[in-house]
């Protein structure tokens, strides 16, 4: 194991009601990088993320996060997780949502203000979460993941439903966080977000079919953009599976 890796997975299998959701996953996520997790919906991205945060029951394999087994008590302050659906309390205000999770983490009160500014929710911080737009709700959820400055951020489709400007701002935030040493694993199905990542993992039907840098992927496939590169890789994998 390389000590510069935040996450190391070996031989991971996840089965759900007799179907294999993840198959023989081996991967590592280097510290301080933004790693994109890409793939068609239903390919197992969310399951892989839940396995890393320790809330997914696994069939076999090992998952190490900062040298500890995933789900270890010591990791509960080190990982910020944002699920695909906004896991927030609709009947609390933005501020109250953040403040409750801040208390659970035991981080300082000033954290709430910092996070509200980072995700750009200053103007609605006293509004009830149920009155917010879909994009605002998912930013509250992202804000909760940022509380307590975790060393690893696991973000499941954080930019879905956001306009291009906001999306750009958030990717700027991710890059700043990575520059300060935070490791980010970000799933997306918007391929143009791929080029903003340091490294890309492509998932198809529960297997990792590519693990490379954005430039490396273009070279390996001879494609001109990532959209095309992924199509090439997906078709290649489909052919191999059929053969």
């Amino acid at each position: 194991m390389n000590s510069s890796d935040a996450v190391v997975i070996a031989g991971l299998n996840v089965r759900r009601e007799r179907t294999d959701v993840l198959r023989d996953i081996d991967l590592h996520v280097p510290t301080g990088q933004v790693v994109g997790l890409l793939g068609p919906s239903g390919s197992g991205k969310t399951t892989l993320m839940r396995a890393i945060i320790g809330s997914q029951r696994t069939a076999s394999g090992t998952i190490q996060v900062f040298g500890q087994a995933a789900g270890h008590r010591a990791l509960r302050r080190e990982i910020g997780y944002m699920a695909q659906s906004a896991a927030i309390y609709d009947d609390l205000t933005v501020e109250q949502n953040l403040d409750y999770f801040r208390r659970v983490l035991g981080s300082p009160r000033a954290d709430v203000e910092r996070v509200i500014a980072e995700v750009g929710l200053d103007s609605v911080q006293r509004n009830l979460a149920s009155k917010l737009s879909g994009g605002q709700r998912s930013r509250v959820s992202l804000g909760i993941a940022l509380l307590g400055r975790p060393r690893l951020l696991v973000l499941d489709e954080p930019t879905v439903g956001l306009d291009p400007l906001l999306r750009k701002e958030l990717w700027g935030l991710f890059a700043r966080l990575a520059a300060s040493g935070t490791t980010l694993l970000v799933s997306s199905h918007v391929m143009d977000e791929a080029r903003r990542c340091d490294r890309l993992l492509l998932v198809r039907e529960g297997r990792i079919i590519a693990d490379d840098t954005p430039d490396g992927l273009l070279k390996a496939t001879g494609a001109s953009d990532h959209d095309e590169a992924f199509l090439v890789l997906l078709e290649r994998a489909a052919k191999e599976a059929a053969a």
């Binding site: 320790g54 997914q56 699920a83 896991a87 659970v104």
Partner: protein, 244 residues
Amino acid sequence: MTPRLTLATAGRVLAQIRHDPRTIGMLLVVPALLIGLLAWIFDDTPVFETAGPAMLGLFPFIVMFLITSITTLRERRSGTLERLLVMPLGKGDFIGGYALAFGLLAVLQAIVAVAYAVWVCGLEVEGSVWLLILVAVMNGLLGTMLGLLASAFATTEFQVVQFMPVFVAPQILLGGIFLPRDQMPEVLEAISNWLPLSYSIDALNTVTTDADATGEVLVDVAIVAAFAVGALVLAALTLRRRTA
């Protein structure tokens, strides 16, 4: 369990309810109004004196069961529970927070309902009014714990609402309101001995009819509390950090 986290969770649950004044209003007023209705229906009969005390235990039980099972189901479905369980929050803090918050609401509800029954409807209480309130609150806590437990077995709101008759109706029928328990068929009496509501209805009847039975009432309250703790332990087992 950490007091700081339990209190934070209780505060959060109360803040959620504070944003829903209609629920608070119904919680506090509806039991009193229904008790008033019962007193009115049986105006010139002794029925209110015998059935009234049991009502004071039923309402907190039913209401807290419903509210808790629905809110915890929402926590499970919205992903907030999963989020909390990967954070440094103990299962005891989660359950304790709910027990504290809904326990407080049960206290307020019991005070309003008992005050209305005693001073407006003229329910005669031989024992201590505070003891009556204590039994009512214990029933609310029992409802909260059973609600937490029931939410684990429901995947939709429709299911969880239907757990209410499953958990509650048999306890009401066998609890001794319609017929004293010792006059029921033997099998049913034996079953009723294993239902917590039987003990709280006993306790409520004892407080209202006997001035010197505090000890007896406290034994009943302790039995109901033991059931609540049992439900709490089972509910804690259903909170899994890892799920399929």
